[in-house]
């Protein structure tokens, strides 16, 4: 019985190919839009998460001032000193690694090529904190760090723009007018929410302090929390330690701030997830419009095929069979539309993902839901026209012109 109905449905669809295609166009576009949007949105979320995890998992960033900026009025809060670093290393429990950072910007020159970039002064601990890897060459040697030698590790963007295919490791380049030897190249980290993370030159902190910033201040301290410890507990004791060291009285506001990268990660992925949901919802509305399109055409189809329905009823089709015929026809149409839509979404996602610089993630669940939803649209919007067809009187239907 059902098999017969499906055969009839396919025959009917085959008889009106163009109309069937136009009918399902709404579903095709709707499903393609929803699945593409959600797939790309998930890709974007994954990309954001990936980039943030590249900042290092369970890392606390200690900076002077309130929030990201350095605060409004009043004296500029003091930077950190090396003894702060030592205190954190020695007095704080649950710390895996601590790295100081001094930041500066300047132009790098190699054989007549110029490139403006950011210089990070830090220690080898930074690679541990940030889980940075060196693709070519090596990290700083401890004597290079102790002496603040003029050596550097460059990011891939710097390598591409400055060395243009030449092997950088072992070469000497100039940075802010100072000659330095390239000892390593960082593994590619990609575009982040924080700019191009490959556009950096990393140097021993002592060198940067001596030659570029001119003091021994540390502008930022990165604290990697041991996996066995709770980040928020360590954050609380870090804040307590710093208040004590910076002699902040009770009731007075901190003149430093501690960021948990995981918090930033949660916030950003939360944002992209909400965006994905909003865009997905808009696309779902178009899917609904597609369903109404199916109902519209099926109603026209029932009117147009009144005589056919009359013939079927005269031949001995019972009401349920006519209902099933039109219902199955609507479902087959919407399912076909759904499948074509999924296929288009696949092509679109694969094509657009690289342009948006997000990974293509095939989500079985999203595809399955979109398909089931299109089938459900067939049932919901096919039922009313089908019921109307089944309720026709055979004599009137046969007389219909």
């Amino acid at each position: 019985m059902l098999g017969t109905t499906v055969i009839l449905a396919f025959r009917a669809i085959n008889r009106h190919k163009l109309r069937s295609f136009l009918t399902t166009l709404g579903i095709i576009i709707g499903v393609a839009a929803v699945v593409t949007m959600v797939t790309l949105g998930n890709g974007a979320t994954a990309a954001v998460r990936e980039q943030i995890s590249s900042l290092g998992a369970n890392v606390l960033q200690l900076r002077p001032g309130q929030g990201f900026g350095r605060g409004g009025g009043g004296p500029r809060p003091p930077d950190f000193k090396e003894r702060d670093l030592t205190a954190i290393e020695n007095q704080l429990t649950g710390v895996r690694a601590v790295a100081p950072v001094v930041q500066s910007s300047g132009t790098a020159i190699y054989e007549g090529n110029n490139w403006s970039t950011t210089v990070y002064g830090t220690t080898s601990a930074y690679s541990e904190v940030q889980s940075w890897k060196v693709a070519d060459g090596r990290l700083f040697l401890s004597e290079e760090e102790e002496a603040g030698k003029s050596v550097c590790i460059i990011g891939n963007t710097v390598r591409t723009n400055l060395f243009q295919g030449a092997e950088p490791v072992g070469q000497r380049m100039r940075i802010k007018g100072v000659s330095c030897q390239v000892v390593g190249v960082l593994a590619t980290r990609g575009q982040g929410g924080f700019g191009d993370q490959d556009d950096v030159v990393v140097m021993p902190i002592k060198f940067v302090q001596r030659r570029f910033t001119g003091d021994r201040d540390i502008s930022q301290i990165m604290v990697a929390v041991d996996d066995a410890y709770d980040t928020s507990t360590v954050q609380a004791s870090l804040e307590e330690l710093m208040r004590e060291r910076r002699k902040i009285k009770d009731g007075q506001e901190d003149n430093f701030n501690v960021f948990d990268t995981k918090q930033i990660s949660d916030t950003l992925t939360g944002t992209t997830t909400i965006l994905t949901q909003i865009v997905g919802a808009v696309a779902a509305i178009s899917l609904l419009v597609g369903g109404i399109g199916i109902m519209n055409i099926m109603l026209v189809s029932v009117t147009e095929r009144t005589r056919e329905i009359g013939i079927r009823l005269a031949i001995g089709a019972v009401a349920r069979e006519v209902l099933m015929q039109f219902l199955v026809e609507a479902i087959v149409l919407s399912c076909l539309g759904g499948l074509i839509g999924l296929f288009l979404a696949l092509i679109a996602s694969v094509a657009i993902a690289p342009l948006m610089q997000v990974p293509f993630l095939f989500d079985v669940k999203v595809n399955a839901i979109a398909f089931l939803f299109s089938a459900a649209i067939g049932v919901v919007f096919g039922y009313f026209p089908a019921r109307r067809a089944a309720a026709l009187n055979p004599i009137d239907a046969l007389r219909h012109e």
Partner: protein, 238 residues
């Protein structure tokens, strides 16, 4: 193997059948108490002017409609007590229909049209093909099985319609002005086909016509006037 109509009890029996369309002051009484017996194997032509009630009677006889009053006994079933779907099943099982306008499904091959009633009977593909081709063979259109109605002449379309009506080997064939849209040569061919089906396959044929030439092929001619049976006479073919 022409069956003897006198032997068997009537396959169709109308008693005091009335039919009223509409309600209240605008109500129209199409049938005013029709009594009619039709024997198995008969070939009945129903004649009468427009509005005489012949089409209404045929709709009731074909189980497409129910009487407003009276009884209709079809093969022992009280049709007036049956609901829509029960009558559909009766049509599926015992009746075949041929219409003036052929009423074939467009863009559908002759064979698919003929197979349609078998689909509703739930026959499998192989049997559908065999029975469909046999029916087409009977109306002389075996070689045209894959043609759509648009590719067939009017006479051929009506033959396909007849093949569709007889493919289920029905007891009764109800034909509503089957030659109404055909020229006289095609009409005679169709009438000869109906006569052949009546004589050689034992199908009871009920035919509405207003052409005496066509009625001449029947064994019994029933005249309707003003919602009543005016006269019943033996046809030329009897």
């Amino acid at each position: 193997m022409a069956p003897d109509p006198i032997m068997s009890s009537p396959i169709i029996s109308l008693r005091g059948v009335t039919k009223v369309y509409g309600e209240g002051p605008t109500a129209f009484q199409a049938l005013k108490g029709v009594d009619l017996d039709i024997q198995q194997g008969d070939f009945v032509a129903v004649m009468g002017p427009s509005g005489s009630g012949k089409s209404t009677t045929m709709n009731i006889l074909g189980c497409l409609d129910v009487p407003s009053g009276g009884t209709y006994l079809f093969k022992g079933h009280h049709v007036e007590t049956l609901d829509r779907d029960q009558r559909a099943l009766l049509r599926r099982r015992y009746l075949g229909f041929v219409f003036q306008g052929f009423n074939l499904l467009s863009r559908t091959t002759a064979l698919e049209n003929v197979e349609l009633p078998l689909l509703y009977r739930g026959e499998d593909k192989k049997l559908r093909y065999e029975m469909g081709m046999a029916a087409l063979d009977k109306v002389g259109l075996k070689d045209w099985w894959d043609h759509t109605p648009a590719e067939l002449s009017g006479g051929q379309q009506q033959r396909v319609a007849i093949a569709r009506a007889i493919v289920t080997q029905p007891d009764v064939l109800v034909a509503d002005e089957p030659t109404g849209n055909l020229d006289s040569q095609r009409s005679i061919e169709i009438m000869e086909l109906l006569t052949d089906l009546n004589k050689n396959s034992g199908i009871t044929v009920l035919m509405v016509t207003h052409e005496p030439d066509m009625a001449a092929f029947a064994r019994t001619i029933v005249h309707f006037r003003d919602g009543l049976v005016e006269s019943i006479e033996a046809g030329v073919a009897a």
